[in-house]
Symmetry: C2
Subunit: 255 residues, 2 copies
Amino acid sequence: MVETLSQTRQPDPAPVFILVGPQMGENIGACARVMGNFGIAEMRIVAPRDGWPNDKAISMAAGSPVLDQAKLYATLGDAVADCHVLYASTGTPRNMVKPTVTAREACSRARAEIAAGQRVGTLFGAEKSGLDNDQITIADAVLALPVDPEFSSLNLAMACGVIAHEWRAGDPPPDGFKPVADRATQADLDGLYQHFHDELDRAGFFYPPEKTPLMMQNLINLFARASATEQEVRTLRGVIKALAIGRGKARVERD
Amino acid sequence: MVETLSQTRQPDPAPVFILVGPQMGENIGACARVMGNFGIAEMRIVAPRDGWPNDKAISMAAGSPVLDQAKLYATLGDAVADCHVLYASTGTPRNMVKPTVTAREACSRARAEIAAGQRVGTLFGAEKSGLDNDQITIADAVLALPVDPEFSSLNLAMACGVIAHEWRAGDPPPDGFKPVADRATQADLDGLYQHFHDELDRAGFFYPPEKTPLMMQNLINLFARASATEQEVRTLRGVIKALAIGRGKARVERD
């Protein structure tokens, strides 16, 4: 092991991603970028083909803090020595007695395992051949993504990415994405509906008159679905007014 | 529209992915590859910066059938003309009144929408700036991934990839990944446990004798958790035999 973990360090609340013998720096960098996107902090790299550090990894990581903190190991044994649970990501079924889980199942299991104080690692093999059988053997379970069997080979960074996203997939959007605010009240909407009713009535839209309630229901239903804001109700009232009394006075045509 | 959809064509049962003004052929190809991995068949490309076809896209697609079938459009309006529902993928919150959903929520909604016969499209903006406000405005909802706000910018193909995977995330692993088969029966296991008991008893392992039931329980519990196969039970019985009667006769040491 090139670097030892401090004994006092708290376990990261996400699984550790372990790249075993990765070949291309570009993929290591792209993994680090997407791990950073989804808050998977800890990357471990076992014997990267082209040495370390790697300029292409730095370029593709786009400033991800995950790459700066990545740890380098000489062997898989060293890299997983402190892990309690391992998932082996592979696209190729092996003739091996081992439970298989999807990313969703693995994340669900890992959440419970981490909550119970266990350190969970996910193994990713090299681009060309993936994990070999010796490397898969030590894992608790195989992680197999629900791919099309006719076109099953994922890019390494993409495999990291979809599992990283799956870890967060139940989380809400970031705070900046606010729910629709300033919704109109029912009183605002009642004013709009009344305005619609009165101007459409003046325009002769309700014919035959006994259909008026149903026609109004249909209109109200559309606007209720749109979850309008206060500002939008004001805009719509301006639209009605413009159509009703504007230059060239609006014609109401009915099918 | 460069190519019209046949009137008789059945809607694909997955959302359509629409790349709006993509800049790099590499990203278009990587999108096509991961869409192929997760069985999202239909890609539409609006005004790609570097023209079409694109050699880098072909190279990065790694033979994905999605790229061959991708359709090219001059405008976003043309590309979405037949869609009933649109999700606009963006990493940047806008000052816009629009519901926001995560990929998981969007996929859940889209599944119901597609089941109801609607064609669903997901919009992806250009690498540099994403979708602009005019493009987002026409969507039913914003799709915002649960990213770290401090490091929120995903690679375009990665955004396509995590949403493509999310569409399939509830599916089982591919058929090649079989569940553990040839499980040992309880009778096989009883034979193993009895063998363990007899040889350990002969070796003086059970001390004091009244602890024998609890010590056996602990051993049995471990082997029950391991979900052994018939072959593994035979192997374990060979192990016991070798340790008990093998060359240099096994010593049993106890703490």
